[in-house]
């Protein structure tokens, strides 16, 4: 892809994610959504950049603000919305919901809620591929795992990143430092000058980028992913940005200080302005992208709303795949 085409594709994804997040929030307000709705407003550029640089066969372990990265990696608006709506259709069949959707077969990991817990499974998959001889030296399939400034302080995250470093696996840790862990300010969650300083302690490459600058995200995240593919071991990219919404739609984020708000803009607005100024986008193409996104999302919403709820009577209450362990016997 030419670089301009790439930038437009990135912008498209960001618009689509923003549109989808907004629509989900509206569905929540309309009482169509059983659980919480989490949005990635303000974090689309960083998240999308990762998805843009992944390819089939790679892994992506998104968290709660990664609608953009999910779309870039191939998730459909329909799967996103039908899961948020708890429909029987879609990957989680109403058994799990909202941001917990995923598909191991497609390399899109369905998160469990415990922060930090999704990184070691990515590491394990990458290790498995090496052991199984599925990797091509110099052109490795990589695994991207998302984490936030708060999640960086979980024991699970520490153990997983260290293990990846020891094995020199192609893990790319995407750290979205959005200044808050829920309501908690960064000064209450870590004490280093910048989270990128964690990288040296793990013995892995570290990168910083301005999460509000989409081109910078694409470039930096792209470089990290390229290095991982090349066999340079785990990479950590830390983006500075701000969550431009509540933790979930239930949260008014009134705790976010004006000073902080003044420091961070909206990556989508910035990118739109930039691409317009540079003539990469025109009023027409912009309108087309927006209409297209609205249509994609609206089509998905309408279809999802029409899809069946889980059938309680038919539900199979089985936590194990082996129905009769009495007969489980090795060949």
């Amino acid at each position: 892809m030419t670089q301009q085409a790439d930038r437009i594709a990135l912008f498209r994804i960001m618009v689509l994610a923003r549109t989808c997040d907004d629509r989900m929030a509206k569905l929540k307000a309309q009482n169509e959504v059983p659980g919480s709705v989490f949005v990635g407003r303000g974090q689309e550029a960083f998240s999308a950049a990762a998805g843009m640089r992944l390819r089939p066969g790679d892994l992506f372990a998104p968290l709660i603000r990664d609608q953009a990265g999910r779309f870039a990696f191939g998730e459909t608006p329909l799967d996103a919305i039908r899961t948020v709506l708890g429909r029987r259709t879609g990957p989680m069949r109403g058994r799990d919901g909202n941001v917990h959707r995923g598909d191991w077969a497609a390399g899109l990991l369905p998160m469990i809620s415990h922060l930090g817990a999704m990184v070691s499974p990515v590491v394990g998959t990458l290790l498995a591929r090496r052991l199984a001889g599925k990797q091509t030296a110099g052109d490795l399939s990589v695994g991207v795992a998302s984490i936030g400034d708060g999640g960086m302080n979980t024991g699970a995250l520490h153990e997983a990143v260290n293990a990846a470093a020891v094995e020199r696996l192609p893990l790319v840790l995407l750290v979205a430092d959005n200044q808050y862990a829920y309501s908690t300010t960064s000064d209450r969650t870590y004490a280093c000058a910048h989270l990128v300083e964690r990288a040296i302690g793990y013995g892995i490459a570290g990168y910083r980028c301005d999460g509000t600058d989409a081109d910078a995200c694409l470039e930096t995240v792209g470089a990290a992913i390229t290095a991982a593919r090349a066999g340079k071991g785990p990479q950590m990219v830390v983006a500075d940005l701000l969550r431009l919404a509540g933790h979930g739609t239930h949260d008014d984020a009134s705790y976010v200080g004006e000073d902080v708000k003044s420091r961070f803009g909206d990556c989508l607005q910035f990118y739109e302005r930039t691409l317009m100024q540079q003539g990469v986008l025109t009023a027409e193409s912009l309108a087309a992208i927006r209409d297209e996104a609205r249509k994609q999302v609206e089509d998905a919403v309408q279809q999802a709303l029409g899809e069946p709820q889980p059938d309680v009577a038919a539900e199979e209450w089985w936590a194990r795949s082996e129905r009769d362990l009495v007969n489980v016997r090795s060949a």
Partner: protein, 323 residues
């Protein structure tokens, strides 16, 4: 007063009356005041004693342990009981072992928002009492009423041993009742109480399930002329065996209902208890009602079908009465 407000009142009175008390947990400081607002306004009233922690449940717990061993009475708020799974080791292997190993008790209180709400899904609805109860040393309590939420939290802080205090999330906002915080009259921390007397059968429950049991008892009375006695365990570890057996000795029939998973835990323990020590009282087999043996589903309809409710208890009671 709401169940949640009773907890907040107890917390504020504890902070006001006991300098050893402080609260540590995620997002509990003002203006936010906690994911469920249990600490709303407290950090402002008690500066420096309501502290936001990093997302580090193991360390949160270890920090409380260290503070308690140094003479404080720390209260740890876990955002959801489900996330205390990563604090499991500090709770059972550290807090729980200190008294036996060293002779010095470890008075921490772990506040755990438990139980299901529609749409909560597999990781925000769990009941942790079973995996907190096997290792020796921890006290596990589960208040079901507004008054208990208030009094038992104070009793938990008064207790010299580590207490896991299970707060039911559904009750936070949905349970409201008047009570007199001044009243000196309330049962001790380890005491089970009869919420509703009855003669024909005993329904044992704890936490949110107590309300299903009471509703079931009312329906059994009005629609089926059956008199069910409801025993609220209040404290699941240790069990108040006396109160359970006393009720069974009167009724001869018992149902144990829980929102938790079926294998092991308080329902098995109570059923085993009555079989071992109440055998001669049993006119029928003890009946256990627990959640389905799967993760807790996200979809509200699946969620409602996942755990027993008053209808399930009524049905079980009718079958049991017929035995």
């Amino acid at each position: 007063m709401k169940y949640l407000e009773a907890i907040r009142l107890a917390l504020s009175e504890l902070l006001a009356s006991d300098q050893r008390v402080f609260i540590y947990g995620q997002d509990i400081a003002g203006p936010f005041g906690g994911a469920f607002k249990a600490t709303k306004g407290l950090s402002e009233r008690f500066p420096g004693r309501v502290l936001n922690s990093p997302i580090s449940e193991d360390a949160m717990t270890g920090i409380a342990i260290g503070a308690a061993m140094d003479g404080m009475r720390p209260i740890v708020e876990y955002q959801f009981a489900d996330f205390a799974s990563v604090a499991f080791n500090q709770l059972v292997n550290h807090a729980g072992t200190l008294y036996y190993r060293t002779g010095r008790p470890c008075p921490i209180v772990a506040r755990l928002p438990v139980g299901g709400t529609p749409g909560g899904g597999p990781f925000h609805c769990q009941m942790p009492e079973t995996w907190l109860s096997n290792h020796p040393g921890l006290v596990v309590v589960a208040p079901a009423t507004v008054a208990d939420a208030y009094f038992m939290l104070k009793d938990a802080v008064a207790c010299r041993d580590p207490v896991c205090f299970l707060e039911h999330k559904y009750l936070y906002y949905h349970l409201e009742a008047e009570f007199d915080p001044q009243s000196a009259e309330h049962p001790g921390l380890g005491r089970a109480v009869v919420r509703r007397p009855g003669d024909d059968l005993t329904i044992v429950a704890y936490s949110g399930m107590v309300h299903h049991a009471i509703a079931a008892a009312a329906q059994l009375e009005s629609e089926h002329g059956l008199s069910a006695e409801v025993v609220d365990l209040r404290c699941v570890r240790p069990l108040d065996e006396e109160t359970i057996l006393a009720s069974l000795s009167r009724t001869g029939r018992i149902i144990i209902a829980s929102e938790g998973w079926p294998f092991g835990g308080p329902t098995a323990e109570v059923a085993a208890l009555v079989a071992e020590k109440g055998f001669q009282f049993l006119d029928a087999p003890p009946v256990r009602l627990a959640a389905r043996d799967t993760p807790i589903p996200f979809h509200p309809e699946l969620f409602m079908a996942h755990h027993p409710d008053d209808h399930a208890i009524v049905q079980a009671a009718l079958d049991l009465a017929r035995y």
